[in-house]
Structures are given as structure tokens and as C-alpha cells.
Amino acid sequence: MDGFLIVVWAVRLLFLGLIYLFLARVIAALLRDLRAAAREPGDRPGRLVVLASPGGEPPAGQSFGLDVITALGRDVNNAIVIDDPFASAEHAVLTYRGRSWYLEDLGSTNGSYVNGRRVEGVSPVGFGDELQIGQVRMRLERAATR
């Protein structure tokens, strides 16, 4: 086998090797990204961001991390206390079941709304949907992953 052919083969294998080096680097970057995402305290299934709150409690802009079951209402025993004259003491419950969010109205006086539509019984909610309890408007969002 003459030297030229050996060099040609070396160059060919170097090309393949460089493609694989590229792939390895990319996969390393992907793994770093995944580990960083896993380290974040992102085990909460979602968050609720207050958009408007005439009463000031909760203040607009505040973000609540949600549990699998989150109670909302005027009573201080609720996970999210909505101090609004139009909210009932035990107003509604937000639950995460399976892969989906549900809002259940607990027979409140003034009702709960999803995207401006009154909830009768249990209503499914998606990320990006707007909830209204009393005069307080909130948006359901995915928990920030970074």
C-alpha cells in the first residue's frame, strides 16, 4: 500500500471523525442543558400570574407557584388569598390531574370565569388561559424552567 493511499484514507476517516466530534460536542451541550433544567426547582406544575387586582391584594404582577391542588378564595386558609369584595370565602379550586388543569367553582356567589366565560361545575384550563375570581384577573402559566 503506497503512502498516498494511506494519507487519503486518513483524511477520509478524519472527516468522519470530525462529524462525530461535532455530534459529541452537540450532545454534551444538550446534556448540560437538560441537567440545568432538571436542577431548577421546576417541579411545580404551573404558576398563576396576577394580571389585574383592583383591591391590591394580591398585588398585580405577583406570581404564585401552584401545587397539584390550590384553593382560592377570600378566607385566609386558602393557598391563594384573594382579598376582593366580590370573591367568596371558599371560591374555587384549581387542580392538576393527569396532564391537564381544571378549575372547579365551589358554589361562589359571583362565579369564576375562564377567558370571560362563567364556569359551571368543573372546567378545563390550558396554559395561557385567563381566570377571573371576583375582580382579580390571573393567567395560568407554565412554571418558568429557567
Binding site: F4, R12, L16, G98
Partner: protein
């Protein structure tokens, strides 16, 4: 609500730069390897083309650095690597496969491909920098769907037939295949439709025997989709596009609802449809026959597939090296349509099993990025959009790779980023650009509330 964008500050993208330099090194070595085999010289083969392409990648990188958005840094180098491999392949194929005249100058295969690659880079980078809001996609989903259907009808009526398939639309000097762009429009529409109705698809049940289905009215779009896919097959004879559209639809439906029963129903519909088509149309039956046994007519209908299988076999584990494959027999490439439908077979011959696996790995990386961008997105629409866009590339790459390898019947879709062809490159550039824009972790305008998203199906269309 107009957003005030603060002063634009450059933001370094070291990961991207490092990966791009690796791409440049790999392409340079590939080019030298090609030249050593063809001419016996250890210099760059068509140095000008490779240098222009690498310069294009670096300009795209620099533009993103200057724009200072915190977008994904892996997509561009990965797509850039695939595009570079495409450029090497096109330089190495007989240059007179395609010649195109633009305003007096005649460009050959590699030159045309380089031009399209640069335009694609420009589009992807521009979209990745400029797109800061998705409302133009989200809000006008029915408009987009209508535009897509109009595009399809235009092709039906004014399209020119190539190889018995009516896919090409001629616009003056350039011709395009609208079905490539249609797949992007389809994903945009599906993302909008499914994110709006996701809750209802998940929630309610209609029981049919052992299967739990969503309310029947919500299955209507599925049936419509199926009918459209069949229509594409019947009128356009475009098996690949039909398979791609229906596959993407099923995958997005599954992502949106998490219901396996829907996928099962879809697959049953698909099998029924395929059986129906195969009994009705001779061309499709021929495709299936070729797939089952290409060697029964190795010089006639099975020629393409048989040649591709031989190419893979010649390649073996390491390949015969770039430029050392059988370039032409009697002035013609041994595999018909090697530059559009069978680039993987050519690469399989010259780079071997290792090369093919690496290329499939690169596609997998693109899909993974799409999934991650989707998982981190702020709401359902963006999630579904990102996942759907990535799946388009993944499913398309799988369909044609499987066709080349005789795993599935051959369908004439392109291998994303690698096949020759402007429409394909542009559509995939749009996908990469949108994925880049969706991955931004910095500026993220909250989506507008979707008022009345839980309205009943018969009320749809009245609102907004």
C-alpha cells in the same frame, strides 16, 4: 400592545461559535478528502464554494451576536453541518444534472445549491432575529389555512407535471413546490386549532366499544385532515406529502391530548386509506410492489431502489470515501434523481454506515431541540408550534431515509437540508428560523388572552 424593546446589546454566543468552527473544520477536511480522491491533490475542492458557505455561516452567527437575543445556539450549527454535507455532495455529483440560468449567467448544480443555501441561511437568521411575537401566526390561523388550501388548489390547476406528479408551480424564471411550504402552514394551523380546543379534546368522552374517544364533533377535523391527505394522493399523486401531513397531524394530536386512542384510530384510518388507494391506483400499487421485491424487475421499475441498495452495500461500514463512489455510468448517475430523492444513498456509499448514522443523529438533534423548546415554551400554542415544526423535519427525514433503505415504500419527499432544491431549503429555513425565535429566553411578550377559548364547537367562527 407595542412593546418597548430596550437598546440592543450584543451578546456573545460562544457555544454556537465553537460548534460552527468545528463545522468549518469538518467541511474543509471533507473538501480536501474529495479533492484527494478526484484529483490527487491535498487542497480544497472548489475552495471558493466552501469558503463562501463558511463565511455565510459566520455572518449568520455574527448577526445573531449583534442582535443580542438569547436564542438557541445549537440549531444553526447542526443545520449548517447538514447544509455543508449537502454542498460537498452537490459538488461531487455530475454538475450538469441541473443547470439554471439567472439573468444571463448559467449556474451548475453546486452553484445553484450554494445560492439556495445562502438564501436559506439569510431567511433562518432573519426570522430568528426579527420575530418577537407570535400573534401574526396565532391570530390568523384560519387565514393561514385558507392560504394553504389556495396554494394547493393553485398547484392543482396551474401546476406542471413532472414524472406524473403535479407538484411544481412555475413563477417566471423560478419554479417551486408549494407542498414544502404547505407543511409549515399546516403546523401553524394545527398548533392554533389544537391549543384552542385542547381542553375539550382532553376532557370529555364518547365511548365506542373499548375505546374512549373525545366528543365526536372534535374528531371532525381529523376526518377532514384524512380526506385532504387522500385528496393529495388522488389528485397530485404525491404519496410523500400525504404521509408527511398525516404523520405530523397524528403526532401533534398525540402531543396535545396525550390520548393514545386517537393515534390508534388515525393509524386504522391510515391503513384503510392506503389499502383503498393501492387497490384504486396502479401507480401506488407499483410503488408497493417495488418495495416488496425490487429485484423482480431490477432494470425497469425497481431500478432506482436496486441501485440505491447496491450503493449502500458498496459503502459498507466506513464508505469508499467522498468522490470515490460510482459517480456516473455512461455520463448518467447510477441512481436516477440521486440529488433530490436519494442523497442518503449517495452518502451511504461514500461515507458508509458511520456517515449515515451521523447524519441521522444530526436530524435527531434538531428534533430534540424542538422538543426542548416546546417543553420550555410559555403556553400551549408555542409548545405545539415548536414540537410540530421539529416533527416535520424529523418525520420527513425518516420517511425518505426509510424509502432509500427499503424500509418503507419510496415516497418522493426531500431529505431536509441535504437534498437539492430551493423550495425544500426555504421551507426548512423557515422552520429553523421560527424555532430560533420561539427559543428566546429573554424578550417574551405574554400571549394575548384567548377570550372564549372554551366555546362550544357550533359557536366557533362567530367570535374574534
Amino acid at each position: 400592545m407595542p412593546r418597548v424593546i430596550g437598546p440592543i446589546r450584543p451578546r456573545p454566543r460562544w457555544v454556537e461559535l465553537r460548534l460552527l468552527l468545528l463545522v468549518a473544520a469538518a467541511l474543509a477536511v471533507g473538501s480536501i478528502s474529495l479533492n484527494a480522491t478526484v484529483n490527487g491533490e491535498f487542497r480544497l475542492y472548489d475552495a471558493q464554494g466552501i469558503l463562501i458557505y463558511v463565511a455565510g455561516l459566520l455572518v449568520a452567527h455574527l448577526a445573531q451576536v449583534l442582535a443580542g437575543r438569547r436564542t438557541d445556539q445549537i440549531l444553526l450549527p447542526t443545520a449548517g453541518m447538514l447544509g455543508g454535507i449537502s454542498l460537498l455532495l452537490m459538488e461531487r455529483l455530475p454538475q450538469d444534472l441541473v443547470t439554471q440560468s439567472f439573468f444571463g449567467t448559467t449556474l451548475s448544480l453546486a452553484e445553484v445549491q450554494l445560492l439556495w443555501l445562502l438564501i436559506a441561511l439569510g431567511i433562518a437568521t432573519t426570522l430568528g432575529i426579527v420575530v418577537r411575537s407570535d400573534s401574526w401566526l396565532r391570530r390568523y390561523k384560519y387565514t393561514w389555512a385558507a392560504a394553504g388550501v389556495a396554494l394547493l388548489l393553485l398547484t392543482f390547476v396551474f401546476g406542471t407535471e413532472v414524472n406524473g406528479q403535479r407538484l411544481t408551480l412555475d413563477l417566471g424564471p423560478i419554479s417551486g413546490q408549494p407542498s414544502e411550504l404547505l407543511k409549515v402552514i399546516l403546523v401553524v394551523f394545527l398548533a392554533g386549532y389544537l391549543s384552542e380546543n385542547r381542553a375539550l379534546l382532553v376532557e370529555q368522552d364518547t365511548r365506542v366499544g373499548p375505546l374512549r374517544l373525545p366528543p365526536l364533533p372534535y374528531l371532525a377535523p381529523m376526518v377532514v385532515m384524512w380526506a385532504i391527505a387522500l385528496g393529495i394522493v388522488v389528485i397530485q399523486r404525491d404519496l410523500g406529502a400525504a404521509l408527511l401531513f398525516f404523520g405530523v397531524f397524528l403526532a401533534m394530536l398525540y402531543v396535545a391530548t396525550g390520548r393514545f386512542s386517537l393515534v390508534v384510530i388515525g393509524l386504522i384510518l391510515f391503513v384503510l386509506g392506503s389499502a383503498l388507494m393501492a387497490t384504486l391506483f396502479a401507480t401506488i400499487r407499483t410503488r408497493v410492489d417495488i418495495w416488496l421485491d425490487p429485484f423482480s424487475d431490477p432494470l425497469g421499475s425497481g431500478f432506482q431502489v436496486v441501485q440505491a441498495l447496491h450503493a449502500f452495500a458498496r459503502g459498507g461500514l466506513l464508505g469508499v470515501g467522498l468522490g470515490a463512489g460510482l459517480p456516473e455510468i455512461g455520463g448518467r448517475p447510477p441512481i436516477p434523481a440521486v440529488h433530490t430523492d436519494f442523497p442518503l444513498a449517495a452518502l451511504g456509499e461514500e461515507l458508509g454506515l458511520l456517515g449515515v448514522v451521523a447524519i441521522l443523529g444530526l436530524f435527531l438533534v434538531v428534533v430534540e431541540r424542538g422538543m426542548r423548546i416546546g417543553a420550555a415554551a410559555a403556553d400551549d400554542f408555542r409548545s405545539l408550534l415548536a414540537v410540530g415544526l421539529a416533527l416535520v423535519i424529523g418525520i420527513q427525514a425518516f420517511t425518505i431515509a426509510a424509502g432509500n433503505l427499503k424500509v418503507l415504500p419510496l415516497t418522493g419527499v426531500t431529505l431536509p437540508f441535504i437534498s437539492y432544491g430551493g423550495s425544500s431549503l426555504l421551507a426548512n429555513a423557515v422552520i429553523i428560523g421560527l424555532l430560533l425565535a420561539l427559543s428566546d429566553k429573554g424578550v417574551e411578550p405574554p400571549p394575548p388572552p384567548r377570550v372564549g377559548s372554551s366555546r362550544r364547537w357550533f359557536g366557533r367562527g362567530a367570535a374574534r
